[in-house]
């Protein structure tokens, strides 16, 4: 690990200002950042510890929704009585991710910002446009079984590894951030994560120095809320494919895919196909997919996982 100086942030704006220092990074749970620092994939020279800033509450909003502090831990969020009752898809997605130990540390904002698990991003001996802009993509033509089938580019075929973000997309959450001047900004989750394009190293639409303060959920949507994750082990593994779904009694609803793209994959137009079943919905969701020989199984897996979800929603 490279050396770094360390400070405890005294206020959100001071933290955002310190982020302007050369090669500075925020640290909260640290479960992803420290892993990457040990491998020298991340090499910050200055860490700003934001854990003391509060932002650890879950509060009702005047609109009837929930404001989740950026520092609320994944365990606390999954176990919150209101989340369990009204936003079950979010609880289920969180509980499907990582391990008990990691969920106790990992934060809401950190989960949104976690980096890809593409094996070539982790292998510092191999070119990776995400790790070093312009160096090339070793995954294309390499081992691609776990990688993206849609929304990818000639520069990057990595996936976003988050389960939580897939549920947040289904719930249409909003990410709130603050900058060094104290200016706040709300970003709909749909616009928060970027597709790779020519700049896969830029993963979100946060501006440099902006600090996430909370994530807000709109008022409860009702319906059957399901998160189904398909992975190589029964527990503690990243998704090959996952489906977050909110299905109303009349069969209408929302579906979002995880494990297939650089961001949670939702195509709102495809949701009108839901009453027609999994095959039609999957076809509409995956229109334009560019799978590889090694990961085209994900297209079939999406349809089958969706079928299981729709069947569970009826039951």
């Amino acid at each position: 690990m490279k050396s770094f100086t360390y400070e405890k942030a005294q206020s959100p704006t001071a933290a955002a200002a310190a982020r302007g220092k050369p090669n500075a990074k925020f640290i909260a749970g640290g479960t992803n950042l420290l892993d990457l620092m040990k491998l020298e994939i991340e090499t910050p020279q200055h860490l700003i510890d934001v854990n003391g800033l509060g932002f650890d509450k879950i509060e009702s909003t005047p609109q009837g929704g929930l404001r989740i502090g950026a520092l609320v831990r994944n365990t606390a969020l999954a176990a919150d009585p209101k989340v369990r009752r009204d936003y079950a898809v979010l609880s289920r997605a969180l509980l499907a991710g990582a391990s008990g130990q990691l969920r106790n540390k990992a934060t809401t904002a950190g989960n949104l910002l976690q980096r890809t698990r593409c094996p070539y991003f982790y292998d510092t001996n191999m070119p990776c446009n995400k790790r070093k802009a312009g160096s090339g993509c070793s995954a294309i033509g390499g081992a691609t079984r776990s990688l993206a089938v849609i929304g990818s580019s000639d520069a990057c075929i990595a996936t976003n590894p988050s389960d939580m973000a897939v549920a947040m997309r289904a719930l249409d959450a909003t990410v709130e951030a603050i900058d060094a001047a104290g200016k706040t900004r709300s970003v709909p989750i749909a616009d928060f994560h970027r597709l790779p394009g020519d700049t896969p190293h830029i993963e979100t639409t946060l501006k440099p120095g902006e600090l996430i303060t909370s994530v807000t959920l709109p008022k409860p949507l009702g319906g059957k809320q399901i998160y189904r994750k398909v992975r190589d082990r029964a527990s503690y593994a990243f998704a090959l494919v996952s489906v977050a779904a909110i299905i109303k009694p009349d069969g209408a609803g929302r579906v979002v895919l995880g494990g297939v793209a650089h961001k949670p994959w939702r195509v709102e137009a495809a949701e009108s196909e839901l009453p027609r079943g999994a095959k039609a919905t999957a076809a509409a969701l995956l229109q334009g997919a560019r799978p590889t020989t090694d990961n085209k199984f994900k297209l079939t897996l999406v349809e089958r996982t969706l079928a299981a979800v729709l069947s569970e929603a009826k039951g």
Partner: protein, 206 residues
């Protein structure tokens, strides 16, 4: 805001809340890297207050093992994948390899040495012996710290991936214990005996 040079030397006036002291080795402010940076931190370990001056890079795991010589906590993968380093911080189990010691000012840390001793075993340690819950023993301290805090999570009503009803009190059934312990790997494969030991301990009168 300081200049690059003042930041690299750790004397940036804007970081008044920082606990870092100037690095002992001349820093290189050319953007390539900086020398080691020391910082002070104090936290409680198994009931005793411990104050340390550490390289900022020191994980809680290395602080416990290399600086406080509490070698019961084990380093397995050092990347949060195996759970051998699990300790209990402020009542919650965490991977001590994936957190910096300097982030734990004022924390209360419990390691395996704080749960039991050879002369006064924790009842879960005794249950592991009775049920042969290990072969090589390298993962055992992490398994036991993890299980003790995991049972508190069940008591607190934290649901799991395998809980049928998110809003019901979770059970102590085997699938629940296995799911909740999935962050602790045992390469010897003693899982069935580990589950038996935890089940026995969980079922005993408080």
């Amino acid at each position: 805001m300081g200049t690059a040079a003042t930041i690299a030397l750790g004397v940036d006036p804007s970081s008044s809340g920082a606990q870092t002291s100037p690095p002992p080795v001349a820093a290189v402010a050319n953007g390539v890297g900086i020398g080691p940076v020391l910082a002070n931190v104090s936290f409680s370990v198994n009931g005793s207050r411990r104050a340390l001056e550490l390289d900022t890079r020191t994980t809680l795991l290395d602080a416990l093992r290399e600086h406080l010589h509490l070698t019961g906590t084990k380093k397995g993968c050092d990347h949060g994948q195996c759970g051998a380093c699990t300790v209990i911080v402020d009542g919650q189990r965490i991977n001590s390899c994936l957190t910096l010691a300097v982030m734990h000012e004022g924390s209360k840390v419990t390691t395996i040495e704080g749960l039991g001793t050879p002369d006064a075993l924790h009842p879960l340690q005794a249950a592991f012996i009775r049920h042969d819950g290990y072969q090589c023993g390298y993962c055992t301290a992490g398994q036991i710290c993890s299980a003790v805090a995991m049972l508190d999570e069940i008591k607190a009503g934290v649901p799991s991936h395998v809980s049928d009803d998110l809003t019901a009190q979770p059970s102590l059934r085997e699938p629940e214990l296995r799911e909740r312990m999935s962050g602790n790997i045992c390469r010897c494969g003693a899982y069935s005996n580990i589950v038996e030991a935890i089940t026995e301990f969980a079922g005993r009168p408080a």
